[in-house]
């Protein structure tokens, strides 16, 4: 049952965007319209889940036995970079339609803090393999959910009057703050 609560908290109360501030750059930058928000979200989901599983094995079967845990930051970022490259090549070859939808966002993902952040959280929280998969999946669903809701809100914001200095980033951040308040309410019930 712990796994179910882990899944729910990672989607809602421990949402990576709204409580851990991971992946803010694409969140305010890309999510201008629904479609690109969804594309980015899907690409991130894929990379987070696959790279979490991969780094779990690398961390437990290579880094810990050889006592080189201090290299984890370098190793993890390399894993992400090569994985993103690999997914792009495979996608272009076998799923050209999917590549057309997500291809633009894939290179950006290497430097997306959400991916490295989730991987580091897995390690910091000492999750086992199943927990790692559940947490990675839940976090990316949370990412997808928030980025989608946010892109729809943002379309509404654009058609409404806002003080000039507060357009774009400031209003996006304040909106995110209000969303965070709503999401955090799930803790207290």
């Amino acid at each position: 049952m712990n796994l179910i609560s882990l899944l729910i908290t990672s989607i809602l109360t421990q949402n990576i965007i709204l409580t851990k501030f991971l992946g803010i750059c694409p969140f305010v930058g890309v999510s201008d319209d629904e479609e690109s928000g969804l594309g980015m979200g899907l690409a991130v989901t894929l990379v987070i889940t696959v790279s979490s599983i991969l780094t779990y094995f690398i961390h437990h079967y290579i880094l810990i036995p050889t006592n080189t845990e201090y290299l984890r930051t370098i190793v993890f970022i390399l894993v992400i970079a090569s994985l993103v490259q690999m997914i792009e090549i495979i996608m272009r070859r076998y799923f050209p339609r999917l590549h057309k939808l997500l291809g633009l966002y894939l290179p950006l993902i290497t430097t997306n803090c959400a991916v490295l952040g989730v991987i580091l959280l897995n390690v910091f929280n000492n999750y086992n393999l199943i927990q790692t998969i559940v947490f990675a999946f839940g976090s990316s669903i949370g990412f997808l959910l928030v980025i989608y809701i946010f892109s729809t809100i943002r379309e509404k914001i654009r058609t409404n009057p806002i003080i000039k200095s507060f357009t774009d980033f400031p209003i996006a951040l304040i909106t995110a703050g209000i969303m965070a308040l709503i999401f955090l309410r799930y803790i207290g019930g």
Partner: protein, 217 residues
């Protein structure tokens, strides 16, 4: 000379990575709970920025165009690892407090941004100076955000607490007598972080274009 220093300061404010270009928001929002954390995070980014700018400007001649980003990321990650090891040894409580946001400096857009857009095309001295400028600007922004959040949320400023094993002092100051102000914990929550940063960026934007009229869009 004086004019030069002045323009240097002006650039720190006018080209501020956080307030003007909205880069590096991840760490800016997460660790600005106290003045001390903000300052230390700022200095960490400053260290990594200057180090990576130095190395990138040295090696960029020999790095092929296609592997630029991964190569530079490894340079950045190396400096972050050095910093992690130092901090873990000398100030473990600060290491704990910064948590995942210390290794996350690797993906801080400011650092890769400066490496790609400046250090890879310029000489060593200019690159280090550029790193110093961007790093100081980021540190300033973090301190401002951290101070506002800590004063409003906790009615105090922490100068030295986590780094006290190194300096030997603990310095925390209350700003107002407790009865006068009830600290609002909202500012210490994630929601408060978003709202405070949003308001700060908006206010700074308004000050910067005070020449023009600030009207409804």
């Amino acid at each position: 000379m004086k004019k030069k220093t002045f323009s240097f300061l002006g650039e720190i404010l006018n080209e501020n990575p956080l307030f003007v270009s909205s880069l590096g928001m991840c760490s800016a929002l997460a660790i600005t709970l106290t003045f001390e954390n903000s300052l230390m995070m700022g200095l960490s980014v400053l260290f990594v920025l200057m180090g990576s700018n130095l190395i990138v400007s040295l090696i960029s001649k020999w790095v092929a165009e296609e592997i630029r980003i991964p190569a530079f990321i490894v340079v950045i990650a190396t400096f972050v690892t050095i910093l992690e090891l130092l901090m873990k040894t000398y100030v473990p409580s600060l290491f704990q407090a910064l948590g995942i946001y210390l290794p996350l400096i690797v993906v801080n857009c400011i650092i890769l941004g400066r490496a790609l857009s400046f250090a890879s095309k310029n000489k060593i001295k200019a690159s280090i100076l550029d790193g110093l400028k961007a790093g100081l600007g980021f540190t300033f922004a973090l301190i401002l955000l951290g101070t506002v959040r800590e004063v409003l949320g906790n009615n105090q400023i922490t100068f030295m607490d986590k780094i006290s094993p190194l300096t030997g002092y603990i310095a925390k100051y209350q700003i107002l007598p407790v009865n006068d102000i009830i600290p609002n914990k909202l500012f210490l929550s994630p929601a408060g972080a978003f709202i405070t940063l949003g308001l700060l960026i908006g206010i700074i934007k308004a000050i910067r274009n005070r020449g023009g009229k600030d009207e409804l869009n």
